[in-house]
């Protein structure tokens, strides 16, 4: 497991966040979600961001993915500044560089698995054929099924295939196994691991499930809007070994 990211000490990070702050205004009250986060992510890494719910990890992920903007601080992906960018530029950034996977799979119910993936292929500059993306996640036999005809784990794998089909540089996953039982969740994690390994895609998984941390190159512990510490795993555990 000598991925290039392992010895990243002097490499230029793909993502670089400095002093990130995010305050949500809920009616009359200001709720701080991030209170000064500094973070670098490197190409080809598999990073797990671990923290209890409300710790700010989803906010961090959304800012990295260009779905949200920080209240203060800087964040950059390669040459893209994600703070001052227009909505149009952020859309372009998501289209060309980012794949998202959510806890709720957010598939389009009126499209088949293949068509859901084709949605992404349509707008990406250099997409993977939809069939291939689905085969990679083990759904080569269920191409023409509608979401309502698939199990939760299968739906999540379609969502991953859809994200991966764009050949994104980074795959951002928000509690991808949160709605799944352990066995099904493991299959999903295997797919993520395989995407990271075979395509070299940077994968960021946020979870409150500590067991998943074993999968990562690095584990970022978040609590109360701050990064508590960052651990480096000496060995990445294969998904098959993970249990919860």
């Amino acid at each position: 497991m000598a991925s290039p990211a392992r010895a990243s000490g002097d490499r230029i990070p793909a993502f670089e966040a400095r002093g990130l702050e995010k305050v949500y205004r809920m009616g009359e009250v200001d709720v701080p979600a991030l209170r000064g986060v500094d973070l670098e992510l490197y190409d080809g890494e598999l990073v797990v961001i671990l923290g209890p719910s409300g710790s700010g990890k989803s906010t961090l992920l959304n800012i990295l993915g260009g779905l949200d903007v920080p209240t203060a601080g800087r964040v950059r992906y390669r040459e893209h500044d994600l703070v001052g960018a227009s909505a149009r530029a952020l859309t372009r950034y998501r289209r060309e560089h980012v794949g998202f996977v959510f806890q709720l799979y957010n598939l389009v119910p009126s499209l088949t698995a293949r068509e859901n993936v084709a949605l992404a292929c349509e707008i990406a500059p250099d997409p993977m054929p939809a069939d291939e993306a689905l085969r990679r996640v083990g759904l080569g036999e269920r191409l023409d099924h509608f979401p309502s005809q698939l199990s939760g784990g299968e739906q999540q794998r379609v969502a991953i295939a859809r994200a991966v089909a764009k050949r994104p540089d980074v795959l951002l996953c928000d509690e991808p196994t949160g709605a799944l039982d352990a066995a099904t969740g493991r299959v999903v994690l295997e797919v993520l691991e395989q995407v990271n390994r075979e395509l070299g895609t940077t994968v960021v998984v946020i979870t409150h499930n500590a067991a998943i941390a074993a999968l990562a190159d690095r584990v970022v512990h978040v609590s109360d809007g701050r990064i508590a510490r960052i651990d480096r795993n000496a060995r990445r555990a294969p998904a098959a070994e993970i249990a919860w």
Partner: protein, 786 residues
């Protein structure tokens, strides 16, 4: 306010756009209902009160010349309570400004005011006993020609010229709808009713000591048919032309026809609006209940009963319906007052009996409530029945499965966006169909409004371009011989003269009979032709008769059958006429034979009641002035003038109606499209957000929403056109009577306007939806459980 009521209030606030749209539809339905029903009631009551106050006669008869004592014999008929003999004679007026107008002169008793058809004096007074050389004018005519008490007029009656001093202006229940002979609509400028002392009129008409018309009041419980038959028997020897009841009185019939139309409008329009409102409420509430499943479960878990929840949602709907109905009731009452006033002015009722009937508002509200109930009962019941544990789980993903449509969509090259649009629509075909139907109704109502104008324009077009092509029509005081025509031909500027003859007659077929004028035209005439509603010429047969299709229906005859025509003139022959052809004409009912056939039957040599003239350009006024000098000319009307005045009347009366209909149509189409957009957006929010997360721009995501609405509008266009044609056909059926039949005519402009207006309104709303798509918080939407 209970906690649940607070929730209802907040829910209402969140969906205020849709609530306003549905409220507007309910308000429109209510307003149309209240307006039309109140106006119809007001007109009926005003008419009845007017008839009663002015002692409008129950039966009428005309006769060629009956000695005055015959009146006493009529009074002796069982069932007759009162008789008033009269002289009614057509004539002409020379107005102070040099213009001419046609007039119907009606006698007033010499010694006392009339006991039947009492005049409502609006200015000046009625003649004093024994007063002579004076006249009372109908108000419409007086106003249109700026005449009043003190003005002097020249009058020509039966070729005799006199001077009349106007002493009063009045209204009569007998001439509420004052349509001159040969006219399609009332025109106060060119035709008026003039009341004059009996002695004056009898002298002019050569009816000293005699009468040519009679009005009767029947006693309570009298059998009208028996009385009419008895009257006919008494008048027969004197040239009786058939008695008729109030039902066949021209003015009364026009009025009744209008009120029937109003009643039809009062039923059809609210039905359309309420139907659409019910559908929209059903969609909105179903959607709300689906969205609030977890809340419903939570409330039930807390211990709220099924009934409490049903009441909760019913209140929500009730608030929208109540607000709409209240606004509609107020608007309707105001509009109703305005419309009733417009009608009352059009008919020149001397007063208006208008009442804001709470019962009408209540029945309207009940109809609105019923429509709402039909619309939402299912959704509310579903919410109430949901078991709490199931309710708290998110709704399962929308079930899609492969259908026949998918084979079509499976072709490569069909973009996923199109698949989404078509699958979404095909998954809820009923809702899609009803949405399209709602938009279609908007198109249809605009088509209907346009068709009303197109039809009248077509009618005038056919009438003046194809049927009546004369530059002037001359009516003689009595049937005249060839010398009269020679005189006409000799006038400078006259290029062609075509005589016609008309005699009063009763057409009979078995027990069915109808009194009308039997017209004698020249076969091959160019100026006055028989033309059907489509503008095709029907030739005048040498021997048989051509009947209006409507008259043929009334008599129950068809081509090849024979009708009997009892002519009430001259030696009173009875003609057996084979029906040669039917003509689908649209004004009045006509029976036409060749003039030679009529002359032969009457045995008085070639005679003409009048003639149509073709004139040299610009010769009209000159010819009219010269003809005015001739004693035997009763009236001259220039074709151009007639056409202009009719167009003006139609334009005035139709303009308002069309504008109001178009306004309602916009509310209809706008409400439906807005709601379809809102619901589609709400249901697709998550998909649209997903697409944007994938990297679709808000514009690209919006296109899916826009595509769905565009398909609905596209489906609505043919449906709306078909529906519009249906409505126009229905409305033309409803207004059809023996007085008036409108062919269904819809111009390309009307189609284009209807489709264009609805597409433009839809387009604007779809553009508005572009903002909703852009304004969404992607993270919120994607993390929220549906």
């Amino acid at each position: 306010m209970s906690a649940l009521d607070h929730k209802a209030w907040h829910d209402l606030g969140r969906m205020r756009g849709q609530a306003v749209a549905v409220g507007a539809l309910i308000a429109s339905a209510m307003a149309v209902w209240v307006t039309t029903v109140l106006t119809e009631r007001a007109m009926l009551r005003t008419r009845d009160a007017y008839y009663a106050r002015q002692r409008f006669a129950d039966a009428f008869a005309s006769v060629r010349r009956a000695p005055e004592p015959v009146g006493a014999r009529l009074a002796a008929i069982a069932g007759v309570a009162e008789v008033e003999t009269r002289v009614i004679w057509p004539g002409r007026l020379d107005l102070p400004d040099g213009r001419r107008a046609r007039a119907m002169f009606v006698s007033l008793p010499d010694r006392a005011p009339p006991r039947l058809n009492v005049l409502a004096v609006r200015a000046g007074r009625l003649p004093l006993p024994g007063e002579r050389g004076v006249a009372v004018l109908t108000e419409g005519f007086a106003v249109a020609n700026r005449l009043g008490p003190g003005d002097a007029l020249g009058a020509v009656v039966n070729g005799r010229r006199t001077r009349l001093r106007v002493i009063g202006v009045a209204l009569s229940p007998e001439y509420v709808y004052a349509v001159g002979p040969g006219m399609l609509f009332p025109d106060d400028r060119s035709f008026g009713v003039v009341w004059a002392p009996r002695t004056d009129l009898a002298e002019a008409a050569g009816l000293d000591g005699a009468f040519d018309a009679v009005a009767l009041r029947l006693g309570p419980g009298a059998a009208e048919a028996d009385v009419l038959a008895a009257v006919d028997r008494v008048l027969e020897p004197w040239g009786g032309a058939g008695a008729h009841g109030r039902r066949d009185q021209t003015s009364h019939r026009y009025l009744s026809d209008e009120l029937t139309q109003l009643r039809a409008l009062a039923l059809v329009m609210p039905a359309i609006f309420l139907g659409i409102a019910a559908f929209l409420l059903s969609v909105i509430v179903s959607r709300l209940v689906a969205q609030q499943r977890p809340q419903v479960g939570m409330l039930k878990a807390l211990g709220y009963s099924d009934l409490a929840l049903a009441v909760h949602y019913a209140k929500l709907v009730g608030a929208v319906v109540a607000a709409g109905a209240a606004a509609g009731a107020v608007g309707g009452a105001l509009l109703g007052r305005g419309l009733a006033r417009m009608y009352a002015e059009f008919y020149r009722f001397p007063f208006l009996v208008y009442a804001d009937a709470p019962a009408v508002v209540a029945s309207g509200a009940a109809l609105c409530a019923l429509a709402a109930l039909v619309g939402v009962a299912g959704a509310v019941a579903r919410a109430a029945r949901l078991p709490p544990a199931e309710a708290m789980r998110p709704e399962p993903p929308a079930a899609f499965r492969a259908t026949g449509l998918d084979r079509l969509l499976a072709r490569p090259g069909v973009p996923p966006a199109w698949r989404m649009v078509l699958r979404n629509l095909s998954r809820r075909p009923v809702r899609a169909a009803l949405s399209a139907l709602g938009i279609a109704s908007g198109i249809a109502v605009i088509v209907l409004a346009g068709a009303m104008q197109d039809e009248l324009r077509h009618l005038l077009g056919v009438y003046f371009r194809d049927a009546r092509r004369e530059d002037a029509i001359v009516v003689f005081s009595e049937a005249s011989g060839a010398d009269a025509l020679t005189e006409l031909r000799a006038l400078p500027g006259v290029r062609a003269v075509e005589p016609f003859r008309g005699v009063p007659a009763t057409l009979r077929s078995g027990p069915r009979r109808h009194r009308t004028e039997l017209a004698g035209l020249e076969p091959g005439a160019r100026l006055w032709r028989l033309v059907d509603a489509r503008g095709r010429e029907v030739p005048v047969p040498p021997a048989g008769v051509v009947l209006s299709s409507q008259l043929a229906r009334m008599l129950g005859v068809g081509p090849g059958d024979t009708v009997l025509a009892e002519v009430h003139e001259g030696r009173r022959p009875v003609l057996a006429l084979p029906v040669a052809a039917l003509v689908d004409d649209f004004v009045g009912v006509s029976a036409t034979v060749s003039r030679a056939r009529l002359d032969a039957a009457l045995g008085d040599g070639p005679r003409a009641s009048g003639a149509l003239l073709a004139l040299a350009p610009g010769a009209g006024p000159e010819v009219e002035a010269r003809l005015a000098e001739r004693p035997r000319v009763a009236a001259v009307t220039l074709g151009e003038e007639l056409r202009r005045s009719m167009e003006a009347v139609i334009g005035r009366f139709m303009g308002g109606v069309v504008a109001v209909l178009a306004g309602f149509a916009l509310v209809l189409a706008g409400g439906v499209v807005y709601n379809a957009a809102r619901v589609a957006h709400a249901e697709r929010q998550r998909e649209l957000a997903t697409l944007q997360v994938l990297g679709f721009t808000p514009g690209e995501a919006w296109r899916i929403l826009a595509g769905e609405l565009a398909v609905l509008v596209l489906l609505a266009i043919p449906a709306g056109c078909a529906l519009g044609l249906g409505l126009a056909t229905l409305s033309s059926r409803l207004v059809s009577s023996d007085l008036f039949r409108l062919p269904v005519v819809i111009s390309p402009g009307t189609w284009a306007r209807a489709v264009g207006v609805v597409c433009a309104a839809s387009g604007l709303l779809v553009l508005l939806a572009r903002r909703w798509v852009g304004d969404v918080d992607l993270v919120e939407v994607l993390k929220a459980r549906e």
